[in-house]
Amino acid sequence: MKRTFALFILILSWCNVFSQEDSLRTTRYVMRSFLIGTGRANVLDTYLSPLEYKGPEVRVLFENMRMTRLMGGNVSAQHVFQADFSYTKNPAQTARMYTGMVSWTYALHYQFRLNERLKILAGPTLDLNGGCIYNNRNSNNPAQAKAYGSIGASGMVIYKMRIKDYPLTVRYQASLPLLGAMFSPEYGESYYEIFSLKHGGKHVSFTSLHNSPSLRQWLTLDFPIRQFNMRIGYVCDIQQAKVNNLKSHIYSHNFMIGFVRNFYILKGKNRISMPHNVTPY
């Protein structure tokens, strides 16, 4: 009995040591991707116009994902930086709006590894956004500044498969802001009052699903071509708000293409392949 117990303790200790070493090592595996894409945008901001402006959009997306030591090494950290610019026109094609936005999202996902092919990830996110919409025709309300941030929930499904020995990885991710804050001038307030006269007002509003129901979704497919890991994807970015009696939305649909780099952080070893049980992706 004593020998059995001693053996059990030994195995447990060994496993613990292994997992710590494994955890330490897994944090050095990084997946980075850079995507560029184009699509369509639908922009509404009732501070500028009650009409929806539509037109082309370009977007870049940089993603970085690696495992952490949290919860036994089962949590991955994801940084996503996006920048987009759209050139849109009103329905009658008589006025133009230029929209530029940047966003940074940090997410921690607990990884549920269901089998060798399928992973489901879920966890909290922090999302920060900033930008500007400019209308070329307006007088004292020519532009609207956009600045908002939130914490939310993110879910991801990663499925790895092979078609005739050709490896493919499909990923779907959705990110939903739940609680946050947003800058907005008041309903009929000019930026002249805010910045030149320095008048106060309710310029920061609490946001949640009731007044800012937004959703970001990505669908990507990874596939190797020679020594490169290519990625194609579709981004559906729905950003909406109704604060200070002003309605706004930016609906973006973009098709993206780029490449992925999986590497080990030690110098000179960035060609090391990532085993299934340690890879963040």
């Binding site: 009658a92 094609q93 008589t94 939903l176």
Partner: protein
């Protein structure tokens, strides 16, 4: 179990997500009429004030003009009816713009004497006047400085103002003529006004709409003019006004009226105390309208103009002699 719950709550949250859109659809004459009426109804800032002043009833305007809208009417006819509708607001800041034309309410100056003649003005400016950053100036024969400011649309440089006031410092008094100045940038008007005070002065209040209701306004906040750090005018000054002194010029006159050594001479200004915003209707026509009202230090309305301290009109006798009655009056005030 945790995973199932997470997915459940995530899906629930996604289902709660709904579209935020503006309730505007269609591009028929009726749709454009309704869209324009709604923009004014929800965003125009003087509906209540004008209801008290001359009985404007925006709902009644809707009923009256809706009868003139038909689905078969052409763009030109629609523009005419919509222009007439927004002219009910009696506001020079309300303009409907299309490729056909831009509507304008002109009664605020057409129904009054012009009180300005550039040919008579040239008798005072002579041929050796100076132009500096949008200001035209001359030293008159009686050693009174005369500055004509035709617009606040372009910025006035601090260096130019320093040079101008420095050059005119030898004069006994200064006339600033803002007749026929239709406005421009408020910041430019305030920059010029800041040269005529040595202390921070309360010149009025400003507020804005906080919602679509006719009475949804923020608490009015004080507007001050702080003295410029550049060269400031230390002697008596007269501001000349007429009905075409409008918008940012109206604001300039209001600011100058609060200063100790400044006298407003001429005709009542044209008004236009609402900071204009722009919007548009489905057919792409743009509409400019007053969005944020400005008040004097006693919270009095300035929308229909500011009365001068000394009311003077150009007389036909003076005009026949090539004299500007207002400039002559200003000179007498400054010399006394």
């Amino acid at each position: 179990m945790i995973m199932k719950k997470t997915i459940y709550y995530l899906l629930l949250a996604v289902l709660a997500t709904s579209c935020i859109r503006e309730d505007i659809s269609g591009n028929s004459p009726e749709d454009n009429f309704e869209a324009l009426w709604k923009i004014i109804d929800e965003q125009y800032c003087f509906l209540e004030y004008k209801s008290q002043e001359y009985g404007l009833d925006w709902d009644e305007v809707h009923a009256r003009y809706a009868e003139r809208i038909t689905s078969s009417m052409g763009s030109e006819a629609l523009f005419e009816v919509l222009s007439e509708m927004v002219n009910e607001l009696r506001d020079g800041h309300v303009n409907l713009s299309s490729s056909l034309a831009t509507s304008q309410y002109r009664e605020w100056f057409d129904a009054y004497p012009r009180n300005f003649s550039d040919s008579i003005q040239s008798n005072y400016l002579k041929k050796d006047y100076v132009n500096s950053s949008g200001l035209t100036y001359q030293i008159l024969d009686n050693n009174i400085a005369y500055i004509y400011c035709s617009s606040f649309s372009d910025g006035i440089g601090d260096g130019n103002l320093d040079q101008t006031l420095n050059k005119l410092a030898i004069c006994d008094g200064l006339i600033i003529d803002v007749r026929n100045n239709g406005g421009g940038n408020l910041t430019t008007a305030q920059k010029l006004a800041a040269r005529f005070t040595d202390k921070k002065v309360l010149v009025g209040y400003m507020c804005h709409k906080t919602g679509p209701g006719h009475n949804d306004f923020s608490t009015p906040e004080a507007v001050y003019i702080e003295p410029s750090s550049g060269i400031r005018w230390q002697k008596k000054a007269v501001v000349l006004t007429n009905r075409r002194s409008y918008s940012a010029t109206n604001d300039f006159v209001n600011s100058m009226k609060q200063f100790d050594d400044v006298v407003i001479v001429g005709d009542k200004t044209g008004g236009g105390s609402g900071l204009p915003f722009s919007s548009e209707i489905p057919n792409g026509w743009s509409i400019r309208f007053s969005a944020s009202p400005m008040f004097d230090p006693d919270m009095g309305q300035l929308e229909f103009g500011i009365d001068p301290d000394v009311k003077v009109d150009m007389t036909s006798e003076d005009m026949q002699q090539g004299k500007d009655t207002m400039i002559e009056t200003a000179c007498r005030i400054l010399k006394n």
